[in-house]
């Protein structure tokens, strides 16, 4: 892929939070995001999957410049990220909880129009036209425009969130758990809506999710995150079909599938909990839970190395997991 096609690129991004130490005690850090490099090409859907506390939301917030990065670089369209109108014109986001991400006192029209007020110099009429158009695209009628959020259902609220994100015609939309607060039937409607909007506007998506089946359905490429690090990356269908990092293997085995003849869940073998991000275990961060762990894993942290041209795995014994 040509480098100029890259929309978003992060290089060795680190976000640490400082814990208050005392005079005598050494200062400690929460290593929420540790050396994460990802890229999103134009028109592509990329998923970052991981369990709670793995740093995926902090990563999204860092990319959006809502949290300061400790080290590393973020580039959007080849430009270093700075807080500017230009930056947010190209990149918007949809939050996880549709309840708390809409101002309860504002009318839907004003919520959806807000990005336009800041980012463009349109007249009132042009803004109204744009809002009505985008509301149609997300499947909401004009009667919704004059309501307030509490008069809408969860699914409708998430549609408003999506309308607000795309109204300024961004190139990239970051979706942080876009459907995890929704019921199954509504989730399916929203997933299809996201696909339609992508085709229509040539959007790129960066999806942050813990739900493997959502990631599998929407994404072209996938990054698996564990304890602040990317442990595996590759094309989604290949990673799902043949996971190579022991954590990816365990994660896929634990995701319930709606088929009682394949009881994967009751045979899943992973135990324990993800490590603390303050004092991650020495060596590979997955070693205390890993069925393949050997002496080397407890001493040396594996780097994310290429397995093939598009597949990267951070495991010392990746040849043995096949």
């Amino acid at each position: 892929m040509n480098r100029h096609d890259q929309l978003l690129e992060t290089q060795d991004l680190k976000t640490y939070f400082t814990l208050r130490g005392s005079l005598l005690r050494r200062r400690k850090y929460v290593r929420a995001v540790d050396l994460v490099s990802i890229n999103v090409a134009s028109g592509e859907t990329v998923a970052v999957v991981g369990e709670s506390g793995c740093g995926k939301t902090t990563f999204a917030r860092t990319v959006l410049l809502l949290t300061h990065s400790t080290a590393g670089s973020i580039k959007l369209l080849g430009q270093d990220a700075v807080r500017s109108k230009e930056y947010y014109r190209n990149m918007q986001l949809v939050f996880q909880d549709p309840e708390s991400s809409l101002d309860p006192t504002m009318r839907i029209r004003d919520i959806v129009a807000e990005p336009l007020l800041g980012l463009s110099q349109l007249t009132r009429e042009e803004i109204d036209k744009k809002v009505t158009q985008v509301m149609n695209e997300v499947g909401l009628g004009e009667d919704v425009l004059h309501r307030v959020p509490r008069q809408l259902s969860g699914g409708q609220k998430q549609r408003v969130n999506i309308a607000r994100a795309i109204v300024s015609e961004p190139k990239l939309v970051i979706l942080d758990e876009p459907t995890s607060a929704l019921d199954a039937s509504v989730q399916a409607q929203i997933l299809n809506l996201l696909l339609d909007l992508q085709t229509k506007h040539g959007l790129s998506y960066l999806i942050i999710t813990h739900n493997i089946s959502v990631a599998e359905y929407l994404s072209d490429r996938i990054y698996v995150m564990y304890a602040g690090r990317i442990v595996e990356q590759g094309f989604t269908d290949e990673v799902i079909k043949k996971p190579r990092h022991p954590y990816t293997i365990a994660l896929l085995a634990s995701a319930p599938i709606p088929d009682p003849s394949k009881k994967n869940l009751l045979s899943a073998e992973i135990t324990g909990e993800p490590p603390s991000a303050i004092d991650p275990p020495p060596g590979c961060r997955f070693n205390p839970r890993c069925p393949f762990a050997k002496e080397l894993c407890r001493i040396k942290e594996p780097s994310l190395d290429p397995l093939s041209q598009d597949r990267f795995v951070a495991c010392h014994f990746v040849t043995e997991t096949a």
Binding site: S185, Q189, L191, P258, A268
Partner: protein, 321 residues
């Protein structure tokens, strides 16, 4: 079962009949607001009256009708016979007491009901209880039970807390455990562990489980029988393999096709159109009719009832009459 609210009566559950066999795991599946949690609370007798109001029907436990029990008998029934665990274990645990103390309390309550143990001295009893606490923590596969018993709830992870809740619920040796979304707040790897544990304990301690969940995939993995609820009614109930092999009700079919099981390149999802019901209204038609792709004239006229279409597979739909 209805709720009286400021905006009228909410018909939360509407003529639900469910039978739970000993040593069986039955899953009640449905979307938010379908009445599945109300059903769980009604069985254990924990619904606040008012606003809740039992309009008709009975809960019969081992041949005893619950509405005939007085307060004291109800207290015995709750906990000793039927126990319940909830979605957020942190809100069910007392933050200022140690884990061990809280489990011990559950055991002490049970012992106070079994009067015949009074032959032992107080000291012996306390020691016995302490051992039982550690035993019950081991039973839910908590490593290092001694130190966990001395910790406070906030010092444990979500998965550990839910295990403590299970240990506490089972300390009373109930014949039925109602689990309301026990793994919804947990990560997938932890969820797999907790569900596996529940399934194994069911046989070890000889109890039945009523699992309330919104996740059909979870139900398919652990349940023996599955009941699908919509708008306060059970619309389909069958043995787990039967239900997933041959789902009959259009709602069950719709729910199954909403679960993404592949890539967008293979097949698009077919969502159920429309939104979940407003249960403040009274429905004289089939509640799923407005969203149903197979809706017929008949469906708007009267409510279909659960029918056994084949052996042990019940469905409430006119398509199968």
């Amino acid at each position: 079962m209805n709720y009286e609210s400021s905006q009228g009566t909410v018909h939360a559950i509407d003529s639900v009949s469910i039978a739970i066999q000993p040593r069986n795991l039955i899953a009640v599946v449905g979307e938010s607001g379908c009445g599945k949690s109300t059903l769980g609370l009604a069985i254990i007798g924990l619904l606040p009256v008012p606003p809740a109001k039992q309009v008709s029907g009975n809960v019969v436990y081992k041949g005893v009708n619950l509405s005939n029990l007085n307060r004291e008998q109800m207290r015995r029934y709750r906990g000793t016979e039927v126990a319940m665990i909830f979605q957020e274990p942190i809100t069910s645990l007392n933050p200022v007491y140690k884990i061990g103390t809280q489990i011990e309390e559950a055991i002490a309550i049970r012992d106070s009901r079994e009067k015949e143990k009074s032959s032992n001295s107080q000291q012996d009893k306390a020691r016995e209880r302490r051992e039982e606490v550690l035993g019950s923590l081991k039973m839910v596969r908590i490593p290092d039970s001694e130190s966990v018993a001395n910790r406070y709830p906030f010092e444990l992870s979500g998965g550990m807390r839910q295990r403590v809740m299970i240990a506490m619920a089972l300390a009373q040796k109930p014949s039925l455990l109602i689990a309301d979304e026990p793994t919804t707040a947990l990560d997938v790897t932890t969820q797999a562990e907790v569900l596996k544990l529940m399934r194994n304990l069911m046989n070890e301690v000889d109890t039945s489980i009523l699992l309330i969940t919104h996740d059909l995939a979870v139900a398919s993995q652990v349940a023996d029988r599955v009941a699908v609820m919509y708008g306060g009614q059970i619309v389909e109930e069958a043995e787990v393999n039967e239900l997933f092999k041959k789902p009959l009700h259009p709602y069950t079919n719709g729910l199954l096709s909403c679960i993404p099981t592949g890539s967008k390149k293979e097949a698009r999802l077919k969502p159920i159109q429309g939104n979940v019901l407003d249960l403040r209204e009274t429905y004289t038609c089939c509640k799923f009719a407005p969203r149903c792709p197979y809706v017929m004239e008949k469906c708007w006229k009267a409510k279909p009832h659960l029918q056994t279409s084949r052996t042990e597979h019940e469905v409430a739909c006119y398509l199968y009459e």
